[in-house]
Symmetry: C2
Subunit: 324 residues, 2 copies
């Protein structure tokens, strides 16, 4: 079992790599090698199998082909690499290069390998918006309101069609906002949805650019990693015609999430949040949907967060102390 | 008013060109020039304004840029060029080159022109299928079951996002099967939906690869041309968040359409139809949807066929006698 993770240097790629290192197996087979690629060389997890960490620009077709020539073929490919929402909105061409053409390069390399690999693709809740109903159910028209969301949905269409053609065995997950994301603030419009918890619990101030009653559709890093594993392990047939689905998550207001943090952590963190609104962030995140009924995903066995208190506990265990 | 038609050599491009030549105006402005481009140099209509007819491979980015440099900018662009469903299914890479990259090249050239042109994009009923409900209404998830349909939907996403960004003023129409299409049979899986009428009324045999009770969602060439004009003339605001919609059409069985032909034309044509089933064609066309409720399009003023008898009359007037 040979595994590739694109965006392997990101927090999700790193957590997934550590999870695979800990279990040593995927789809009932021992893992023989793990390749992590990112635009900057990712850190390697301690693992009982071969680990290769590579700097590779997914927007560069030749580099992607060289990656497959040198380290492939892969049995399971996790495609997590992306330019995030705020950056893709600020620089349309950058988003197209990485999110659209990068995805095409990866999928074409997977097709050329000829072994019909399992491809787990991170799409996004940003696929939804616009004229869609307020509450998202399976089967509503995808109507992204950002370039990031549009590029993610284009990747879904390619994944579906190339799976139908037998070029790959794709599974696409529309990720809720991941909170509490470890690391530094980034250019994602949703960055504050982690930083107001992560940074304040670590003694820093953090600004919330939306009001306390803003509803966030979110999921914890541990839950996402578990769902990424499940996505690879399911049989292709259970997905049906459409390989892409809305992952489960929780809908909580900022106030409810802050209160949960305070119940677990005490009042010091909350006191470090400032509340200056930011119209640019507000316009982007108000275009997203925050209530999702993920029937198909739950029927297939994907897991759902039970409370934001869990998320705060997991953050303190995994990301402050530094445990995987 | 400068107009470009890609796929200008196709039957729709030619009919649209003749309609524009006859009216001499679009969006309330006199037309000053019309550029027809296709992979083979299209025929020119007789017009009271400048007409340029060019051989240009839309899959070749440099040729598309040269077309804009030499003949642009354009105020209205009709994007009709495509590799049809059967051909895109048989040759995945050809479909990607023309339908995906060709569309990207055109949209990027329109963006680079800097004048935010109106772009009318021919998408397709092939956008629908799979897990969607049997009866299509506005707002159901697009779930194409062919590479052609997938590539058309990717074009819709690009059109929506590039319109939202102000790069162009896009309007996308999901065309029902156009019947009775003049000319020769082609590689479209829907080719028989015209040839069993067109060819038999002109004294030739034609095979119907599906049963008499097969339901076809169809529209006449005259109706499509009228809707293409309407699409360019509407104000952008009426489209809302999503610039793409299901055009109206009629749902009739093959038997009902054949009976309508016989009522208008007499029994000779029907007698020339053979009924040998074709599993390849059947698999493709059974993946399409044939009942569509096009509320949004009708609300915006797009027009709908009243009967297939009208279509037969129009075919005899426009395409046998040769009138535009």
């Amino acid at each position: 079992m040979r595994v590739l993770i694109t965006g392997g240097g990101g927090f999700l790629g790193q957590k997934l790599a550590r999870k695979l290192a800990a279990s040593g197996q995927l789809r009932g087979q021992p893992i023989s090698s793990l390749t992590l690629m990112d635009v900057v060389e990712p850190a390697a997890p301690n693992a009982g199998f071969d680990v290769a960490c590579l700097a590779c620009d997914i927007a560069d077709d030749a580099m992607v082909r060289a990656l497959f020539a040198g380290h492939g073929p892969f049995d399971v490919i996790y495609h997590l690499a992306a330019v995030v929402s705020g950056a893709a909105e600020a620089d349309f061409d950058l988003g197209m290069r990485v999110n659209l053409f990068g995805t095409l390069h990866l999928f074409e390399a997977a097709r050329a390998a000829g072994n019909c690999p399992v491809v787990v693709y991170a799409s996004s809740i940003a696929a939804h918006g616009g004229e869609e109903p307020e509450v998202i159910v399976d089967g509503v028209e995808l109507n992204p309101q950002t370039s990031y969301g549009s590029q993610k949905v284009i990747g879904e269409l390619l994944l579906n069609d190339m799976s139908r053609k037998g070029f790959m065995d794709g599974r696409g997950l529309r990720l809720p906002t991941v909170s509490i994301r470890p690391g530094k603030a980034n250019a994602a419009a949703s960055s504050f949805m982690s930083s107001i918890f992560r940074d304040t619990m670590q003694g820093e101030a953090s600004n919330c650019p939306v009001g306390r009653d803003f509803l966030i559709f979110h999921t914890a890093p541990r839950t996402i990693v578990e769902n990424l594993i499940i996505a690879a392990e399911l049989e292709a047939e259970v997905f049906g015609y459409n390989r892409c689905l809305n992952l489960p998550g929780r809908s909580d207001t900022v106030a409810e999430m802050v209160n949960a943090m305070t119940r677990v952590f005490g009042p010091e963190a909350e006191a470090r949040i400032t509340w200056d609104s930011d119209p640019v962030i507000e316009e982007i995140v108000h275009g997203w949907r925050n209530r999702v009924i993920s029937d198909k995903a739950l029927r297939l066995g994907f897991v759902q967060d039970r409370s934001f208190e869990d998320t705060v506990h997991w953050f303190l265990e995994d990301d402050i102390v530094g445990r995987a």
